[in-house]
Structure formats: C-alpha cells, structure tokens
Amino acid sequence: MTEPLLKVENLHTFFYSENGVARAVDGVSFAVGAGETVGIVGESGCGKSVTALSILRLVRPPGRIEQGSRLLFDGTDLLGLSEEQMRKIRGNRIAMVFQEPMTALNPVFTVGEQIAEVSRIHEGKSRKDAWARAVEMLTLVGIPSPEQRAKEYPHQLSGGMRQRIVIAMALVMNPALVIADEPTTALDVTIQAQILELLSEMQRRAGMSILMITHDLGVVAETCTRVIVMYGGEIVEESSVGDVFKAAHHPYTEGLLGAMPRVGGGQERLTTIPGTVPPPTAWPVGCRFHDRCPYAWDRCVNDHPPLYQIGAGHVSRCHLAEEPEYRNRPHPPLVEQVMGVGGVAQGGAPGERENVKDRSELT
C-alpha cells in the first residue's frame, strides 16, 4: 500500500479559556489517500471544523495544536514547518473551500483580482498572465461570460456563483488536497446539487483528494468513499460509506441516521438523540456519548473505549464491539433519567453537568 497523501496522527487541538481547557480535538488520527474523498461528519461542537483548521495550521490563540500531534502531508510533518514554509503550502498544495462564500471573499476586490492573486503569490505570475488564468478558472467552474464576471465584486453575484468563485480560487494551483468545510450548507438544494456535481467533476479532472467536512449524511453518501464520524472531539466510527449506511456500529452514528428525515421515508416518528453535545471543557469520563446512549451500561461510565476493529476498514469506539449482547437491552439514556422529559440537561448553567457526573448509581 502506498503512503497516503495526508496522515493525521494523534491530533490534539485545545483552546485555553477562563472556563477551562476546551479539548476541541482530542486525539484524532486518520489518513486521506491520493484521489480519495473522505467525509468527516458530526454535529456542531464535535470538532470537525477545528480538525480542518488544524491541518492548515489556521488555529489562532487561545487555540493551540498540542505537542505529540503529527500532520504528515506528502511525507513532511506540517507541524515542523516555519510559518513561511506553511504559507507556501496553503492555497497551493492544500486549499480550503469555506462554508460561507460571502465572508470567504474580500468585498472590496473584484473576484477576478482575488483569483489572480493566488497565482501571483504562488507562481510569481505577471498581472496579465494571472488575470488570464483567473478567467480560465472561471470558465472551468462553469461561470457564464467569465471575462465579464471577473470584473464584478462578490456582492454582485448569487450565493451559488460565489461558491463557484471560492472553488475556482481553491483550484488555481491544482492542489493535491482540498478541504471543503460545509461547502454547500449555506446553499439551496438545487444549487447544492450543482456545486457537488462541480466538485466531483473537478476531482475527476485534476485527481485531487477531498476532505469533506459536513453535517449532512446525504452529502456524504453522494460524494465520499470513506466516512469518519466525530463526537466529543474524537473519531467514534470510521468505515467505507457503504458500511456506515448499511451497518453503522456506533450508537451515535445509529442515532444520527435515525434522526434524519428522508425523502420517501414517510411519517414514522423520528428517533432522537436525547440531550445535547456536552461542553468540550468537560467531556464525560468513560465513553463521551454514554449519557445519551440507549445501550450504555456501567462499563461505559468509567471505561473510555478504544477504537475497536469491527470489520475490514471499519472501526468503532464502542464497547458493544466486545459485549454485543447489550445492544438487545435498549433503555432510556442516562441524560433522560436524570433530567426528565426530552433530556434537556445542561441548560447552560455550569453546575448542571456536575449533577450528571455522579451517574454510577443510576446504571
């Protein structure tokens, strides 16, 4: 097996605040092969966006990538590079497509100037050559009358068009890896279909790898070959896309799939995951999902599960891998038993979670 393009090893990214240390990314390891599309899914606060920012070393204080983390890109550890060297990689070898195209673009420059800037910086192209390249990129991403559009400002374009500009800007240097952070979340569904189509077409042409960060399992199913599910700053499940939809192992993944209404799914009651994601300053001991889990038993309260091998290329951070019989004994999760209806724990009050901490008696 050839060396993967990107290898994230034991990534820890912490934020230091008055309320304590937020362990946003807490020991994440995965790899992205050349030409592969890997999805990272999870809900707000699971650490997926911070993972993306960490790879580009864009985490700002009070955030910090901790000692012992490794980000191997094409054989070099990005964490060992100087800021100068890192700048040569960003936008060049690794590019990023952000969620909100309006904030990702500079409102006071035309879109042509912004795309041209990329090749002027990275290739030292002349103004004229860089402009020609910008127009070429606009054509490539399917913008009608590109010469004209290049002279326009971001506010003159629609949301879908802006996202095409952002993609054009990311692809100028033929990057080996594109990190797309919720690239279609702000877009309407018909425009989303266009953008996803565009991304996969660009990938077919240029052969780059894509790391797709999203909360939408539908987007994952349509674009990715492998999927990583994150919860509480950790990977809780990783598998091929086929496996995760056919045979999800982790109860959190199972919960996410059940909570998602689907077209053609009729009106059967949605299963919910009670409670909310705990604050990153106080991840639960043991399994981080145990208080919301319908199968958790006493072991889950104190024993933090490792990533168990479930099948070929399929891992899950759940003790059910060793004791599958507990799957046959679903019960209301702890957070509901403590908090009552709806499992609305942690109403923001700092003391609230502490009550939940003393859970041993409840299991």
Partner: protein, 366 residues
C-alpha cells in the same frame, strides 16, 4: 369508492378551512424616485392562494427568495400585504383594526427560524412566555406563574428554568422556548417559519417530534415553512411548492412526493442528497440561478430553467393557471397534461409541442 361516502355525508367531506388565503400579493418597491414614484417593485408574493384546514399541517416549500417567509408574515400581517384576502375562522384578517387584530393574534402565532435573534436577551424565559398571558389578560400573579411552568414542562424544559435568560440555552432549547411562547396564548394556528433549519439533526428530530405531539394534543393547525423537503414530507399533510412568488404545485403529501408534476418540483426533489450510497439516480440538475423577482421571466416563471420535453415558445407567453391535474393535485404547467389551456390557445402563442404527461421517475426515486 366515493359514492357511498357522499350518501352518508350530505355535506362535503372537507371541513371548512380555518385559514383561507386568496390571491395574496406583497410587492416591495425598489429604486423608487421622489415620493416613491417611478420605481419598479419586487413581487415577493404574487397571487398566492391556499387553505389550511383545522388541525392540518400545510407545508410551504421553496428555495431562498421564493416568497415563502413573506407569505407567512403577510398572513399574520407582520408585514402588510399589498392586496388579496386572508380569512381566518370566518374573519377577514386584512380588514381588522389594530385592537381586533391583536385579539386575533391570540389565535394565530408564529415560531421563528433563528432561535438566537427571536428571543429578547434582556427578558428571562419566564417573562418571555408570560408576556402573551399578560397582554391578552389570560392569567396573572400566581396563576400566570403556574401556567408558565406548565408550558415549559410541556415543551420539555424544566420549570426551574423560568428565571434564566435565553443566552444560557442551546439552540434546540431556545426553539422550545419560542414554542412555549407561541403556545401560551392557546392559538389554533401557528406559522412555523423554518423552525428547525438552524438546528443539528438530532436536535431537529426532537423539535419536529415535539411539534407533532403538540399538534396531536392541542389540535393545532400549522403552516410549516421550510426549504428542507425531507422535513416537510415528515410533518405535512399537504404541501405547496413556491417559486418566484407563486405557488406552482399544491397536493397531498403522498401525491406530491410520489408524483410531482411541476417540473420545478421534480428538480427540487431530485436534488435532495439521498443518504444511501447504493442509490444512484439520474439527477435533474437545474442550470443557472433563480431569476430576480424584480424582473421575473414572462409566461411561466420557471420556463428558462425548465426540462419538460414539451417546453416551447408558448411557455414564455402564457401564464400557467394553477389547475387540477388529478383530484386535489394542483399544478401550474400548460405542458403537463391535462390542461385547461387548449392546444389552439397554445398554438396561437407559438406552441410547437403538444402537452404530454412527463414524470421522470428515474430522477426521482432511488
């Protein structure tokens, strides 16, 4: 099948609508000259009609800028409609004076999309929920306290939370507060304006289930505005699809999702990503963007992006009526057979292709 029914029930089977919206329009002036003259207008809502029955959920779907939220707000007169009529429980909403309107708002409430900006940050949760009780003189003192606590409990919040402030709550919990606030005055009808769009999927499911439980327990009618077709399928009894200020299709949930007849609805459904990697569809990918509502296309507003095989010149000239293609299934398309716009009329408008029934099933169902 229907004959024995009509004998048993001499009156029509459908009950009187709770809400009837007829030819509702909201034009926003733009680029106006001095004294507002000489400007053009954005036709945000352009002749929308539908009924909402008691205890029913009508889904209103469409993409950004289609006028769905403006419709919801115009019904409640949170923005004044330009023309049209809105009848709620027999009363003409648009003719009411401010006192009568305030009284009527007791029965018509709204839940907003953004749980962060729709709650007053300076008011405690208890005060927010209690405000409606006070304004409508429904309860005061200890009685009001008791009602507030009951309401919080009903939406799945702990009664002790009533002294806390909105910033102390997560998005899903704030949405529950918004729901409790709307329920306080015991409405019959609630406009739900993208109530779950800002929420994570697991929390979204909690709120959707809550809305369904409340509807069952209290017999509420909802106008459920959303851009997410899967959520609407889950909650709605009937669905209206909007495009550029107009309703282009209106049908029962089953009919709309099984047999969408308006080409726009077909494209919309076909674009939804399916969480099943084994499913591969021939997706209809629309080209271009939604045209500007200040300068909508002539004839059928969807014709420049339409993929109906019989699309021709006539589509750019004839404004399609919202007409019945099957019992209870209204569609605005002169090329989707059957149509009341005769072939002669279409030919007079330059038609070259006769209407046909077009339903690209491979693009719709995995």
């Amino acid at each position: 099948m229907t004959a024995p029914h009509s004998v048993a029930h001499p009156r029509p089977l459908t009950p009187d609508p709770l809400l009837r919206v007829t030819d509702l329009r909201k034009y926003f002036p733009v680029g106006t000259g001095l004294f507002g003259r000489g400007g053009s207008s954005v036709k945000a809502v352009d002749g929308v009609s539908f009924d909402v029955l008691p205890g029913e959920t009508l889904g209103l779907v469409g993409e950004s800028g289609c006028g769905k939220s403006t419709t919801g707000r115009a019904i409640l007169r949170l923005i004044e409609p330009t023309s049209g009529s809105v009848t709620f429980a027999g009363q003409s909403v648009l003719d009411l004076g401010s006192t009568a309107l305030r009284q009527l708002r007791r029965q018509m409430q709204i839940i907003f999309q953004d749980p962060f900006s729709s709650l007053n940050p300076r008011m405690s949760v208890g005060a927010i929920v209690r405000e409606g009780l006070t304004i409508h003189r429904l309860a005061e003192g200890a009685e009001a306290d008791k009602r507030v606590k009951q309401l919080l409990q009903e939406v799945g919040l702990r009664p002790e939370y009533s002294n806390r402030y909105p910033h102390e709550f997560s998005g899903g919990q704030r949405q529950r507060i918004g729901i409790a606030r709307a329920l306080a005055v015991e409405p019959k009808f609630i406009v739900c304006d993208e109530p779950v769009s800002a929420l994570d999927v697991s929390v979204q499911a909690q709120v959707v289930n809550l809305l369904q439980d409340l509807q069952r327990d209290r017999g509420l009618a909802y106008l459920f505005i959303a851009h997410d077709l899967s959520v609407v399928e889950h909650i709605a009894d009937r669905v209206a699809v909007m495009y550029l200020g107009k309703v282009v299709e209106l049908a029962t949930r089953e009919d709309l999702y099984r047999e969408p007849l308006m080409p726009y609805t077909q494209a919309l459904l076909s674009a939804v990503p399916v969480p099943n990697p084994a499913a591969r569809r021939d997706r209809i990918v629309l080209t271009g963007d939604v045209p500007s509502p200040s300068n909508p296309p002539s004839g059928c507003v969807f014709h420049p992006r339409c993929h109906h095989p019989a699309k021709d010149e006539a589509c750019a000239r004839i404004v399609p009526p919202l007409e019945e293609k099957a019992p209870g299934h209204l569609v605005a398309c002169i090329k989707q057979a059957p149509t009341t716009v005769t072939w002669e009329q279409q030919q007079a408008a330059g038609a070259t292709r006769p209407p046909e029934r077009y339903l690209p099933l491979a693009a719709l169902h995995a």
